[in-house]
Symmetry: C2
Subunit: 252 residues, 2 copies
Amino acid sequence: MKRERIEEIAELLDKRGKLTLEQLDEQFPNVSQMTLRRDLFQLEQEGRIIRVRGGAMSVKEVQKVSGEPYTKKTTIHTDEKIKIAQKAASLIDENCSLFMDGGTTAMYLAKEMPDKNLHIFTNGLAVAIELAQKKNFHVTMLGGQVMKDNLSTASPVAKAYFDNTNFELAIISASAFTPENGFSCGAQIEADLLKLVRAKAKATYMMLDSSKIGKIMPYTFAHIEDIDVLITDDSFPADLKEEFTKRNIVVM
Amino acid sequence: MKRERIEEIAELLDKRGKLTLEQLDEQFPNVSQMTLRRDLFQLEQEGRIIRVRGGAMSVKEVQKVSGEPYTKKTTIHTDEKIKIAQKAASLIDENCSLFMDGGTTAMYLAKEMPDKNLHIFTNGLAVAIELAQKKNFHVTMLGGQVMKDNLSTASPVAKAYFDNTNFELAIISASAFTPENGFSCGAQIEADLLKLVRAKAKATYMMLDSSKIGKIMPYTFAHIEDIDVLITDDSFPADLKEEFTKRNIVVM
DNA sequence: GAAGATATGTTAGAATTTTACATGGAAGGC
DNA sequence: GCCTTCCATGTAAAATTCTAACATATCTTC
């Protein structure tokens, strides 16, 4: 009841960007203004809206205003990435131990994941913060040098970290993909890490939105046959899909 | 004149994320509150800030990690912490290698630090992200289990990280302090890490706002004589100050 | 069904913002 | 140089919004 109303308010705000209390009062005539205020307060606590004089505005609305290095990246191909993240989230079982990378798709995945009992390793700073919001997650951050462009870490000594850790699942993404060059990224040290992760995990799920296809980055960390599941969007080319399925790799 | 002031306000807001009118009034004592209001209004028109009840916040701040709610909690004792951070920032030399913790004071320090060539180690996720904004910083994140309450990491194997790293300076803070119990924090694993850091660093600077005095947390990680410099605010009691100075510890 | 927790309503009072008007000084025309 | 106009700024009262406090209702849990 309360939760429903709050969600409805959040939706409305995302839609309209900004609402005054009066407008909210019109939309919800059966509750008092005070209750609506309290709802807004809670949404603010959750970091989903910003209260301004007279009402509130959606955080998403604010994020549209201008662009910064990292945040700019996060708004490109948003819809596809969210869909991919939702698919990936549906594949995660309770009590599982898994690795996630620090990319923007992983960021959306972190948001979409249900708050189950999970052990999660990541090398993404922003991803780790997002994961830490969920009560039931046990989050472990991989240390190392911070890469400023994607806010991830990588370290030549990562191998040492992994010696005493286990995870069943690796959910990672790539900056570029071609059938010939496989999955690639922009930093040697990052590629090394992802190779290690692949080797350590029992299964590797690759999240790849179709905008990455045909691009090549300097360092390859996996080829087609190295992964177990490919999670992508509807624009993924049919002929490429066959390349995967004929190797018994699930494409979804 | 007007334009300069407005730009200065915008800069301040980008640095601190959020400011109340009171805080602005302190920064600009020679103009009236109304003028500052008008400045904020103009900046809002330009889409650079968002006015909220009591003051304004930077758009950039909103664009950052959405998981960070803008609660009152984060604004408690803000002014003191910023002043402490500014003092600490002034002590840092170029080409230095240093460790910072992941507390809120360290967060302010990260914002106040000049963009010089520095090697910085930290165990704070949000601090690492903030540090990564500066072009000349080389940032290294310490890995480990993520503590949800303060977004820091700690790991029993931290010692292994440190075997191949060196830093001259440790700038850390504590959750609580009494002369008898020393500097303490709320997690064993965190205390262990901080002890290690102390041992590794040539000098230890402690940032302590006076609200922490008289409180005791479960795990002590340093006593008075373990530190080299204490950075605090004006409310620091004189008798306590003497406890430090008579041990040749600089209090500022 | 009782006790406690949670959610909601109502009101007064506090705080902030807006409005309206007054002042002062700088730019520009004569 | 002097006047006019315009813009930035200051002041204070009025309007609005927000918070705090308490009362009431509803939902949980044992």
